[in-house]
């Protein structure tokens, strides 16, 4: 039982990171019906930028506490990624808004490759370790171990997601986003500046991605130029699982996918009698994607969505 609990904790922490990244996919899809394939790379840039700042601060003569340094890293990564998200939308997607469906998808992949290679040129190709400056405390709960970092990741993601839901449902901006999602034409006739709303959506998604990037970096203690690739793909699967375009769906999908992966990797060996081993961990996300697309293409929460944002 304690093992099951531990796997569940591992899965929920991993899942809350997936959920944060999945939100970026789902928000953009909700409004533009575009899969922003460069989203995973924005996460990577977030991790890299924060790491650069953190290393700079550690190297400097300022004697700041570890948590403060990481906080500064996050505070730099967020605007950097917001700007990046804005520029990507402006340069790669807006000119193609009325082009055939495939065109923006291809530019999305193009942007993703450009970002990866840019990161490789700037930060090099090796794994960069995240300095262990946050003091880690571990707690035992019913035989399972949980660290303060894990608790923080889980609670902070939950708060961010709650904040996003509030924003979408309770504010003028949120209303404009929902209106744009339903019909850009109608929204613009009602005085909503659709271009601005789309830009804001990208910026918001990128800010969440930046935070997720720092979390991944701090959690695993490393960052590298293609870390966004698989993370992005998995978050995308999570978004589809929850029902792409649906914000609550992305959160549910992310958490579920994290748990499925964790439990899957933990038990697949025993369940298949050793035929399939735990190195098939990454397969689960894509297995889920295929199953969802075959049996429930609208995702878990995606049926008859009235509100998307």
């Amino acid at each position: 039982m304690d093992i099951f609990l531990q796997q569940l904790i591992n899965g929920l922490v991993l899942g809350s990171i997936y959920a944060l990244v999945a939100l970026g996919y789902t928000m953009v899809y909700g409004i533009l019906e575009l899969i922003n394939f460069a989203h995973g790379e924005i996460t990577m840039i977030g991790a890299m930028v924060s790491l650069a700042v953190i290393n700079l601060l550690i190297g400097s003569s300022l004697d700041l506490p570890g948590v403060m340094i990481v906080f500064m890293g996050v505070l730099t990564a967020i605007p950097a990624c917001m700007a990046l998200g804005f520029v990507i939308e402006r340069v790669a997607y807006r000119p193609l808004r009325n082009a055939p469906r495939l065109a923006p998808l291809i530019t999305a992949i193009g942007v993703s490759i450009v970002l990866q290679n840019a990161a490789m040129l700037i930060w090099g190709r090796q794994y960069i370790s995240f300095p262990p400056i946050i003091p880690i405390y571990r707690y035992e709960i019913l035989g399972a171990t949980i660290s303060n970092l894990q608790i923080f990741i889980f609670i902070f993601s939950a708060l961010l997601m709650a904040g996003l839901i509030m924003l979408v449902h309770k504010t003028r901006l949120g209303r404009a986003m929902r209106a744009t999602a339903q019909s850009p034409q109608a929204a613009s006739l009602m005085g909503v500046n659709v271009n601005n709303i789309i830009a804001i959506t990208f910026i918001l998604g990128s800010a969440l991605a930046a935070i997720a990037g720092v979390m991944v970096g701090a959690y695993y203690g490393l960052a590298h130029y293609y870390m966004g690739f698989l993370l992005g793909l998995k978050a995308f699967c999570a978004a589809v699982l929850g029902g792409i375009g649906n914000i609550a769906g992305a959160m549910l999908g992310g958490l579920l996918l994290g748990v499925i992966e964790s439990l899957g990797a933990g038990y697949i060996g025993d369940l298949t009698g050793g035929f399939l081993g735990s190195h098939y961990q990454d397969v689960f996300a894509f297995l889920v994607l295929i199953l969802v697309l075959v049996f429930r293409p609208s995702g878990l929460l995606g049926e008859r969505v009235v509100e998307r944002a």
């Binding site: 304690d2 093992i3 531990q6 796997q7 591992n10 991993l14 899809y29 019906e33 899969i35 394939f37 469906r101 495939l102 998808l105 291809i106 992949i109 993703s112 490759i113 990866q116 290679n117 490789m120 190709r125 090796q126 794994y127 370790s129 995240f130 300095p131 262990p132 880690i136 571990r138 035992e140 171990t145 660290s147 695993y220 203690g221 490393l222 590298h224 293609y226 870390m227 698989l230 793909l233 589809v240 792409i244 375009g245 992966e261 964790s262 439990l263 899957g264 990797a265 933990g266 060996g269 081993g277 735990s278 190195h279 961990q281 990454d282 697309l293 293409p297 609208s298 995606g302």
Partner: protein, 398 residues
């Protein structure tokens, strides 16, 4: 309608991603124009091409670059010395290629070398790339010396052209298994490997030796050579409470794994092979590497004649040695020594000399057995103390 759109756009998307996976980091650092004649005459000087293959992109790129530097240093030194073979002054030219640690790219790179008529190959770094490439070199009669491929299969295929200047998995696994059961007091041992030719090969040999040593294997879990999350398998391993945890794989996974091992409150002693015996391992373990063990074939550099000098020269030029640079340096030098003995740069002529050579390298005394494996290899065990790998002891592979 919306969801059919989604499905519609997914199919080309998947195709594109697959293509992107294979292509995105395909950079090479070839210095020459391909297709140029192999032995171009340049003012009475003969240019001899030597191929070097290692992953220069991806998680193991720091190791690949290290190999490239080790090879380059040996070649630069040979050129500076001005070696004359067959009455001609020889200038060696390094052609370095990125095989991405990917078996498929390994064969592509090998074919490239064959087309460029290189006279010898230093590589590849990984067993997974070395083995499929070795057939291509054998068919083209090109001598291949791997500085670091340890999988037993490499030299067991009967290829006359295949050599290595590193102990194989059977030799290293045996020593590791002995060490784990006798020196580290391992009774209940858990194993993780990355399912690569190297990781799996080493883990299997280790397992045999550990069982021979009277230990019980309580778990054998798997990961990949690109993974960063080991929480699920480590949680499973924690439940069987091993006293020693062995990892067969490279430092890019070993380091982060070490961090997660301690993060889960797993207190087992951590042991890994040559792939984890790097400063990078300690860096990636982020403060949790203390006490970890690793092994590295050969003697510690400072104990070898010329080893210390190599270390100083290399560090001054390229910075810290990662792992296999001294082995690459030895591989090039032993190849050139064989060419000098045969007074020919043609693989067919110098191969018999190489097979019977005795050469004092910076890592060990090099001579090959009939398969092309290193004779009487030594294995040195290291342990992390105060954030540095320190020598524990050197054991013979017999």
């Amino acid at each position: 309608m919306k969801y059919s759109h989604l499905a519609q756009s997914l199919i080309p998307l998947l195709c594109l991603t697959m293509a992107a996976c294979g292509k995105q980091d395909n950079t090479t650092s070839t210095a020459t124009s391909p297709g140029a004649a192999a032995t171009a005459q340049a003012g009475g000087e003969e240019v001899v091409k030597i191929g070097a293959a290692a992953p220069l992109t991806g998680p193991q790129s720091h190791l690949g670059k290290d190999n490239e530097n080790g090879t380059k240093m040996a070649i630069d030194e040979a050129n500076a010395k001005g070696i004359t073979i067959g009455g001609k002054k020889i200038r060696f030219e390094l052609i370095s290629e990125d095989d991405q640690a990917d078996p498929r790219m390994g064969t592509v790179v090998a074919q490239k070398f064959v087309d460029q008529q290189v006279k010898g190959v230093i590589g590849h770094l990984n067993s997974g790339t070395t083995i499929p490439a070795s057939k291509i070199y054998s068919d083209a009669d090109i001598v291949q010396i791997s500085p670091s491929a340890t999988n037993v299969t490499y030299t067991a295929q009967g290829f006359k052209t295949a050599f290595r200047v590193m102990a194989n998995d059977a030799q290293q696994g045996k020593v590791l298994g002995y060490y784990a059961t006798h020196q580290m007091g391992g009774k209940k041992i858990a194993i993780i490997d990355d399912r690569s030719a190297y990781g799996q090969g080493l883990a299997d040999e280790f397992k045999k030796a550990a069982l021979n040593g009277g230990a019980q294997i309580v778990a054998h879990e798997f990961t990949t050579d690109k993974a960063t999350d080991f929480m699920a398998i480590l949680t499973k391993i924690k439940s069987v409470q091993p006293d020693v945890l062995f990892y067969g794989g490279m430092d890019a996974q070993g380091g982060p794994m070490m961090k997660q091992v301690r993060g889960l409150g797993l207190t087992a002693k951590f042991l890994t092979g040559d792939g984890g015996s790097t400063p990078e391992f300690i860096k990636l373990a982020a403060g949790e590497a203390e006490g970890a063990y690793s092994s590295l074939p050969g003697l510690p550099l400072e104990k070898m004649p010329g080893g210390k000098e190599f270390g100083t020269k290399f560090t001054a030029k390229y910075g810290q040695i990662q792992l296999y640079a001294p082995y690459c340096y030895d591989a090039v030098n032993v190849m050139i020594a064989a060419m000098q003995q045969a007074d020919s740069v043609e693989p067919a002529k110098y191969l018999p000399k190489l097979a019977n050579i005795t050469y004092d390298g910076v890592t060990t005394k090099i001579s090959f057995d009939e398969k092309g494996d290193l004779k009487d290899g030594m294995i040195t065990l290291y342990q992390v103390k105060n954030g540095k790998w320190e020598v524990r002891e050197t054991l013979a592979t017999k």
